[in-house]
Amino acid sequence: MIDWMINVFSDKAVLSAIRVTFMLAFGSTLLSSVFGIAAGLLLERFSFPGKRIVIRINRTLMGVPPVVVGLLVYLLLMRRGPLGSLELLFTIPGMLIAQTLIITPIISGMVYSYACRFVPAIRVFAITMGAGKWQTVKLIFAELRKELYFCMVTGFGRSISEVGAVMLVGGNIKGSTRTMTTTISLLKSQGIFTEGVGLGILLLVMAFILQCLCDFFQREEVQDENY
C-alpha cells in the first residue's frame, strides 16, 4: 500500500490530475456559489411574470445529466461553434464553464428552497428592528450561513465527482486536462482496476479530509456561540 502511495504521488500525471481535480472543484464551486446563491435569494425576493416556469426550469436543470451539459458546452466552444474564437475547448477554463453550468442550478435550487423557508421571518424581524436594506441583506446571509454552507458543500461534492462533462470539454489530455475521475475512467477502460480503485479511494479520502476541516471550523463557531 505504502509503495503504491509513493508510486502514485511520484507520478507527475497523477499529481497533475489531483491538481486539476481540486482546482476545478474549488473554482466551479466558488463561481456557482456566487451565481447560485444570488439567483436563489433573488428568486425568493422578487415576483415577476413567469417565475413559476423559471423555478421549474431550475429544478429540471438540477437533475440534468452532466454529459448533456458537456455536449452543449463542447458545441459552443468547438472551433466552428459560436464561442470557438475564444479557444477554450480542451482547456481548464472550458471545463470550469461546464462544471459551473452543472452546479449553479443545484446551488440556486437549494438556496431558493431554504430561502422560502427562512427568509420571510428574517425579513420581518429586520423590519421590526429597524434594519436598513443592506443590514437586512447582511442579516439574511448571517442567519442562513449554515444552509448556504451546506449548498456549497453539495455543489463541491457534485463537482469533484464529475466525469462526463469534463471528459467531453477537457478532452482528457494527460498532464493537462485529465482529472482524477477521468483517469479512473481511462484506467477502467484499459482494464487496470487496482489503480483505478486506489485513485477512487484517494479521491474520497481527500474529499473527506476537506469536509472534516470545514466541519471543524463550523463546530468552532457553534461552541463559541454556546458558551
Binding site: A121, I122, V124, F125, I127, T128, M129, G130, A131, G132, Q135, L139, A142, E143, R145, K146, V222, E225, N226, Y227
Partner: protein
C-alpha cells in the same frame, strides 16, 4: 398616530379601519376575538404589510422608531447577548455592557448571557425579545400576544419595565393580549375589534 380609511384584504378576510386616532405616549390595548384582524392591523402599522388603500399618519415617527414583538419571537442564531445588542449595533451605538448585564440580570437571563439564544425556554425567549425591543428605546412598541403564556413573575417584570419606560420617556404601546385581564390595569385606552373593524374605543379615566 392617525389612521384613515385603512383597508386590507387577505383571502376572504377584510380589514377596514375608517378612522382611528392613537394617542402618543399612551398604552393602548387592542381587544377582540380570534381572527378579528388584530395581527393584520398591527402588521400594517409596523409596515410588514402594505395596505390596499388608506393612510397611516405616523406624525413624524420614523419606521426605525417602531418595533414589534410577537408571541413566537425571532431570535438570531447567536448568543443571548448578541441578540440583545443587535438593535444598537445596527444603529451604530456602542452598547454599555454593564447596563446590558443589569437588564439581563433583572430578567434572570444574566447566567445565560453567552448561551445560544435559541436554546432558551419559550418564556426566556419572550423575555429576551422584550428586552431587545426596549434597549433602543423605540417610540412605538407593538406587542402581539407577547405577554401570553408567561408565568406570573415574568408578567410582573414586563409590567414593571413598561411602567418604568412610561415614567422615563413615554412610548406609544399597542398591546394585544388574550389574557388581558392580567395586564389591563396598564391600558390607558382600549380599542375593541370585531370582524376587521374597530367597534368601540374606551379611554381609561385618570
Amino acid at each position: 398616530m392617525k389612521i384613515t380609511d385603512l383597508h386590507k384584504k387577505i383571502g376572504r378576510f377584510e380589514l377596514n379601519v375608517e378612522s382611528l386616532s392613537v394617542e402618543p405616549g399612551k398604552i393602548h390595548g387592542i381587544v377582540g376575538s380570534n381572527g378579528c384582524g388584530k395581527t393584520v392591523f398591527l402588521k400594517l402599522v409596523m409596515g410588514i404589510l402594505n395596505p390596499d388603500r388608506g393612510y397611516i399618519d405616523y406624525e413624524g415617527i420614523l419606521p426605525q422608531e417602531i418595533t414589534m414583538m410577537t408571541q413566537r419571537p425571532y431570535l438570531m442564531r447567536t448568543s443571548v447577548y448578541k441578540n440583545l445588542i443587535y438593535p444598537l449595533k445596527i444603529r451604530g451605538i456602542r452598547p454599555d455592557e454593564e447596563k446590558m448585564d443589569e437588564l439581563l440580570d433583572r430578567a434572570g437571563l444574566l447566567e445565560q448571557k453567552k448561551q445560544y439564544a435559541r436554546s432558551l425556554s419559550s418564556g426566556e425567549k419572550q423575555k429576551l425579545s422584550f428586552l431587545r425591543a426596549m434597549v433602543f428605546e423605540p417610540k412605538v412598541i407593538i406587542m402581539d400576544e407577547t405577554l401570553s403564556n408567561l408565568d406570573a413573575e415574568s408578567e410582573e417584570l414586563f409590567k414593571e419595565l413598561i411602567s418604568m419606560r412610561q415614567k422615563k420617556d413615554p412610548a406609544t404601546w399597542l398591546i394585544v393580549n388574550h389574557q388581558w385581564d392580567h395586564v389591563n390595569r396598564l391600558f390607558e385606552a382600549v380599542h375593541y375589534m370585531e370582524k376587521g373593524r374597530f367597534v368601540k374605543n374606551e379611554i381609561a379615566e385618570g
